[in-house]
Symmetry: D2
Subunit: 392 residues, 4 copies
C-alpha cells in the first residue's frame, strides 16, 4: 500500500477500526437444504456455546462484538444470564429475530393467516420478542415473515396486507422508545406463489405507515434476478428508511453463501452507497451476517465473511469522491466508471493487516484462528447432547 497517501490511509483506517458487523447465533449451528443437513463436528448445543463461537470470531476480527439471537432457536430461561455470559466472553447480545414460521399453526401463515387465532398467537410471539429485548438490552427487533401462498387463489392478497398492517401496528406500539423494528422482505421461499412482503416497496410502504422507528432491512440474497441492490440501498438511505443489512451472497436464489463470495463487486457497490452517505458507522445501520455454512466449517467461514465486508468497505472508502463527482458532473462516463473501478481494483489486504495490527490483533484472522486450537477444543468438548440447528 505504498501508494496510499498517509492522510488517506489514516482516514480509511480510522473508519475500518470503527466498523461493526453483527454475527448471527444460528450461523454457528447446523444448517442445510431441504435435501440434507450435513452435521459438523464441534457444533454448539445451546445458545451459550453459540456465544462462545461468536466471541471467538470477535476475538480474531475485533469488529464483531454483537450477536443476533433467533427466538425460539435461542430460547433460554434467563436472558439476563445469557447477556451476562456474553459480556464475560467480550461480546453483547444484538438484534432479536422473531420466528413465526416453524410452529405447525403457521402452515398457512402467521400474522397473515386466515385464522384469527393463529394471527393472535403470532402477534403474541412478536410481543414476547420485545420482552426479550427489554431483558437483553437489544435495540432492534428484526421481523421476517415467511407468510405467503403457494397457489393462485389460495388467499386474498389485499386482505393479507390488511392483517399484516394490523399486526405490525400492534407490535410497533409495544416498542420501547429506543427500540426499533426492522422489516425484512424476501422475494420467495418458503412461499412459492405470493409472498406477503416480497420487495422493498412493500416493506417501505408498511414502515412509512408505522413511523420513524420502523425501518427496512435488506437481505442481499432476497431479490429477483437482475435487481440492482445498491439502488435500493440508495433509495432507502435517501428516504431515511434503511435499518440494516442481512449480508450473504447468492448465485441463484436465497443461497445464503458467504457475503462477497458470489459477486464481490456488488458488495463493493453496496458499500460505496453506504460510504457516500457517511454511514459506515454512527448512523444506526445494522450490518449483520445472515448465512448458512452448509458444507464449510462455520467459524472460519464467519471470519472470512467479516473480512469480506471489511475489504469491500476499505475499497469503498478509497474511492476518490471528489474525482468521481467531477467526472459525473462532466458526463464523463468512462472517467467516472474508472474512478470507481480504481478503488475496486486496489488490493486492500495490506491495509487491513495494518489496521488489525493497530488494534492489537493478528493480521491474519483465519490463520490465527486455526493456530489457536479453538476448533480442536470444541470438537473434543462438544460431544453428546443435541447439536443446535434450525429445527426444521
Amino acid at each position: 500500500m505504498t501508494e496510499l497517501a498517509p492522510e488517506t490511509r489514516a482516514r480509511v483506517a480510522a473508519q475500518l477500526r470503527g466498523q461493526r458487523i453483527e454475527t448471527a447465533s444460528w450461523a454457528y449451528a447446523n444448517s442445510g437444504t431441504r435435501f440434507k443437513v450435513f452435521a459438523q463436528e464441534g457444533v454448539p448445543r445451546d445458545p451459550y456455546e453459540k456465544l462462545a463461537d461468536a466471541a471467538t470470531v470477535h476475538r480474531f476480527t475485533g469488529v464483531a462484538p454483537t450477536v443476533a439471537l433467533h427466538i425460539p432457536w435461542d430460547l433460554v430461561d434467563d436472558y439476563a444470564d445469557l447477556a451476562r455470559h456474553a459480556r464475560e466472553l467480550g461480546v453483547a447480545l444484538g438484534t432479536v429475530n422473531s420466528n413465526v414460521f416453524q410452529d405447525n399453526d403457521y402452515k398457512l401463515g402467521s400474522v397473515t393467516n386466515p385464522d384469527p387465532g393463529v394471527r393472535r398467537k403470532a402477534i403474541g410471539h412478536l410481543l414476547e420478542c420485545i420482552d426479550v429485548m427489554d431483558r437483553t438490552g437489544s435495540r432492534d427487533l428484526k421481523l421476517w415473515f415467511s407468510d405467503g401462498t403457494n397457489y393462485p387463489g389460495q388467499d386474498d392478497v389485499r386482505t393479507r396486507q390488511d392483517r399484516l398492517a394490523e399486526a405490525l401496528a400492534e407490535t410497533y406500539a409495544r416498542l420501547g422508545g429506543d427500540q426499533r423494528m426492522l422489516l425484512e422482505y424476501k422475494l420467495f421461499e418458503p412461499a412459492f406463489y405470493m409472498t406477503d412482503v416480497p420487495d422493498w416497496g412493500t416493506a417501505y410502504l408498511h414502515c412509512m405507515a408505522l413511523g420513524d422507528r420502523a425501518q427496512v432491512v435488506i437481505d442481499t440474497g432476497h431479490h429477483a434476478p437482475g435487481t440492482n441492490i445498491e439502488f435500493i440501498v440508495a433509495m432507502l438511505l435517501r428516504a431515511g428508511k434503511l435499518g440494516g443489512f442481512d449480508f450473504n451472497s447468492r448465485f441463484y436464489a436465497d443461497d445464503d453463501l458467504m457475503v462477497g463470495a458470489a459477486d464481490p463487486f456488488q458488495l463493493f457497490r453496496i458499500l460505496h452507497e453506504i460510504v457516500l452517505a457517511d454511514a459506515v458507522s454512527g448512523k444506526g445501520i445494522a450490518f449483520m451476517l445472515d448465512q448458512c455454512h452448509n458444507i464449510e466449517p462455520k467459524i472460519p467461514a464467519v471470519i472470512r465473511s467479516v473480512m469480506n465486508v471489511q475489504e469491500a468497505t476499505a475499497k469503498a472508502l478509497l474511492v476518490d469522491r471528489a474525482a468521481l463527482r467531477a467526472a459525473q458532473d462532466e458526463g464523463d462516463v468512462l472517467g467516472a466508471n474508472e474512478a470507481l473501478m480504481d478503488a475496486y481494483h486496489t488490493d486492500v489486504r495490506p491495509l487491513l493487516r495494518e489496521v488489525r495490527e493497530d488494534m492489537g490483533l493478528d493480521p491474519d484472522p483465519i490463520g490465527a484462528y486455526r493456530r489457536s486450537g479453538y476448533f480442536e477444543k470444541i470438537r473434543a468438548e462438544r460431544v453428546g447432547g443435541t447439536q443446535a440447528g434450525w429445527g426444521a
Copy 2:
C-alpha cells in the same frame, strides 16, 4: 355457455360491454428491434392515419374508443383539429405520452441529466405535453423516463433521485385540476446498469410525495424475472395509487408482444385483482395497450390484443367470489385454487361473441376486419411519403 346462469351471464356481459381499452398510436406505426425494423405495407404516414387505424380497431371491437398519443411522434400543428378528426372517426384522443429520450441532448438522461440545461429542456417538454393535454382534453399525462446509467459510478443514484423529484414536482404543479400524472417504471432498457425509476416502489415513493393525482402505471413487461405482477396490482389498488396499465406480454425482457400471448394465466390473475376491487370500469384505471407488432400485421394484432384482454376479464368476472372467499377463509388450499381455476378454464369466447352481437358488432372481430377490405384500401392508398415509426 349453456352452463352459465342467466343472471351471471347478464352481470358479466354488462361489465364487458362497459370495459374500455385504449390503443396506442405508435402501435400502428413501424417498430422493431435494434437489429432491424421490418417495414410493413399500409403503415400510417402521420397521426391522422394512425387515428384512422385506431378507429378501425374500435369499429370492430366496440371497446377501444380512445387513442394514446406520443409526443413528439404525434406532433401536429393543431391538436384541436386532430381531436376533431378523431371525433369524426368515432374515437377520442386519450393519454398523452411524453418522450424525453430521443433528442441528442438526452444521451445521459433527461430530467436526471447531470447538466441543468438538459434537465430544464426536459421539464419544458413535460410542460408542453400538458399544453397538448389542455387542447386535446386528455386526462392523463403518462411519464416514462429512459433515464439511467450504463456503468457503475457513471452518476450518483441519490442525486439523480433528487433531480427526478424536482422535475416531477414542477410538472405536477402545472397539472389542471382534472388532470393526472401517471408514472411508469421499468427495470432496464435502454439503461443497462441503473434505471432511475426501475420498480413500483420507486414510482410509488415519488407519487406519494406528489399528491393524489400522481399515480403509478404498470407496464406488464417491465419487471424482473419472477416478479408477481398481480401482487403489485393489489398493493397499488390497496394504496389508491394504481393509475393504469400498459398491457403487453413477454417471455424475456420488454418484448412488447401482444398482451396475453406469453402467459394468459398471468393476465387473468391481474384482471382477477381488478375485478376483486370492482375496478373494471368507473374507478379511473386506464387500461392501455403498449405493444410492438414487429412481424405480425398491426391492426389485427391490436384487435387480437383487445380480445385477449376481454377474454381474461370475462374469466375474471366468472370467478365465484363467494366460493373463493369461503375456501380461503377455511384454509382450503386446493378448494380456493380450484375456485379460481374453474373460471380460468372456462371457454368465454361464446359469451364474448354474444356480447358483441348485443353491441351490434360482428361476433368475430378479426374475421370482420379481414373481410372489410380496410387493409387492401390502406395498402393501396398509403404509398409514398414516410411511414411513421419510432424515429430511433
Copy 3:
C-alpha cells in the same frame, strides 16, 4: 363439447384413454422446505402404505398405474413382495430413483466427489438400484445428482465431469438389455455455485457418450428463468434422446408445485410438442410427477396434477395440425398462433368427463375421492409409527 366433430372426439378420447402418468412414492410422504416440514395427518409410514395411496390415485383417475420408487426412501427387505403388494392394489412399481445425496459422505458430492472412496460407494449404490430394478421389473433407472460446489474454486469443473462420465459408464454397463438410464439435470439446489449436471446440454452430452439406452429426463422445474422448455422437448425428441419428464410447476426456483398450477399454457406447449411427435404413448417417454405437496393434502393434489396433465394433453390433441402447418408454411404469424390458441382456449373438461365415464370411472375424480372416505380411513389407521418423509 358439442362443437367437436365426432371423429375428432373419438381420436382424442382414444389417446387420452391410452395416456399413462406415473406418480411418485415420495409425493405421498411429508415434505417441506429447509424452514419447516409441516406434517400432515394420514401420511404413510412405509412403502406399502405409499403404494396404497398411489393405488387410490389410480382408482379415481384410471391413468396412473405405476409408482416410482426412491432408494433408500423406499428401502424394503423384499422388493418382490413389494411388487406383489402393488399388483394386488392394481398398480405396478415403476421407475427406480437413486439417492446419493443424503449420506454424510456425500457432503462434497457423490460420483464427482474428490474422494475416490466416496465415488466408489456412490457407484455401488447406483448398481444396487439396478439390482432393485431386476427384482421389481422396472424399466428405468432415473439418476439425479445433487453433486456440485458452493464456492468458486471449490473443485475442478472438468475433473468432476471426468469422474461423472466414469461413474455413468460403469452404471450403464450394468444395465440389462431392456433397462434404460434416465439422466436428469437441474440448474441449482442443493449446489449453489456449480452443479455438475445443470442443463440439458450436459445431460445430452453424457447420454450421447453412453449409448442408446441413456436418455435425458426433463424436470419442468429445473431451468433458469426464461428457459423455453418446449424447445428442449423438441430438441431431445429430434435427437431421439427424450426419456421422460418429471412434471411439476414453479414460479421461482424448484418450487415443486402441482404441474400446471403456475403456467398452464407452458404445460400445454410442452404437450403440443409431444403430440406433434405422436408420442403421447407408445414411444417410451415416461411421464412422471415429481412434486412436493407441502401445504395441500397430498392425495387430492396428486389427482389434480394427473388431471392437469390430462387437460393439457387433451388441448394439445385438439390442435388442428393441418391448419397450423398451413399457416406456418405461409408465414401467417397471427393465423398460426391462433390455430394453437384456439385449442388452448377450449374447455376440455367435458370431454375428459366423458372419457372417464367411458373408462368406468367417476367423471369427477376429486369429488369421488372425497366421497370415498379413504382419507378418513387412513387418518384413523395411520397413527403411531414414523411418518415417511425425505429424511433430510
Copy 4:
C-alpha cells in the same frame, strides 16, 4: 507487485505478452438501442476508417492485432485491398461475421425461414462470406442467426432445426481446409418466444453433427439469468468444441457493455478455466470483443475492454494451481476458494504496466491515447458522409 516471485512474474508476463484479443469493426461505428442511436463525433464512415480506429487500439495496447468484419456492414469491392490497408496500419483482418438478419426477406428467419427461396438466399450469403474469407485470409466464419419466432405456434421447432442443420451442412462443406465455422448461440432477441440456437446445447449438437472444424462460440451476454458461464467454458473445452468468445458484459439481457464492467469476478472465473486448459494462446480459441459503446466514446472504451480482459487473464495466471488442486483434493472448501480469491484480489495493474513497458508501449494505454491527439484528428477529418452504424 513486490510480492510476486521473479519466476512467477516472468511466466505470467510471457503469457500476457502472447495474448491476442480481436476487436470488432462495428464497435467503432454508431450503435444504440431500439429507442435511440446517439451518434458520436469522429465515427468512421467506411471499413477503411474502422480499421484505422482498430489499429489505434492495437497501437496503444499491443495485443489487438486483428479486426473482425461484419458482412454486409463492411462490404467493400476489393477485400484484398482492404486487407492490404489493414496490413499497412499494422493490423490484419480477422473473423468474418455473416449477417442474415437485416434484409426484409428475413422477417421470419433466414436459414430457418418457412420459405425455401429465403433459405436459399441466406445460404448464398453464408457461402459468399467464405468467398470473402478466401480473399481476406480469415480463418473463422462466425455465424449468429437471429432466427426464431415471436409467438407460440408461429412455426415448427423441429422443422426449423432440420432447415438449420441443412444450411449448416452446406456451408460447412464449402469451408477450406484451414477454415472454421464458429456457431454462436443466444437466448433471445430479436426473437422473443423461441430462438433457433438459444443455448450451448443446441450449438454443440449441431457442431458435433458437422465435424471438427465446427465449434461453438460463447457470447458472454447471451445467457439466461443465473447461467454459470465458466461451466460452459469448461464443458466445451473438455469436448474440444470451444471455438472462441464474443466478450462483453451485462446486468440484464444482451446489454453489450464493456467486458468486465458488470461482473469482473465472472470474467476472472471464465479466464481461470482458460488458464486451467493452458489455452490463453496457441489453442485456437478466438478471443473477440463484441460490444456496443452507446454512450461512451468508442476507442477508449475498446482500449478499456482489452485492458479488462488482460487484467482478468493476469489474475487467472496468478492462481497457484498446485495449492488450489491440493485444497480441492483434500475437500478443503474454504482453502480452495481462498486459493482462487487470493489471485483475484491481487492488484495486477502494476504487472501489466511492466508488461507494456517491456513491449515498448506506454504503460497507460488510455492516457496515451488521450494524449495522442487521435480523437481530435478524426473528429476534425471525419465530417460529411454517412457515419457507419448497424443499418437497422
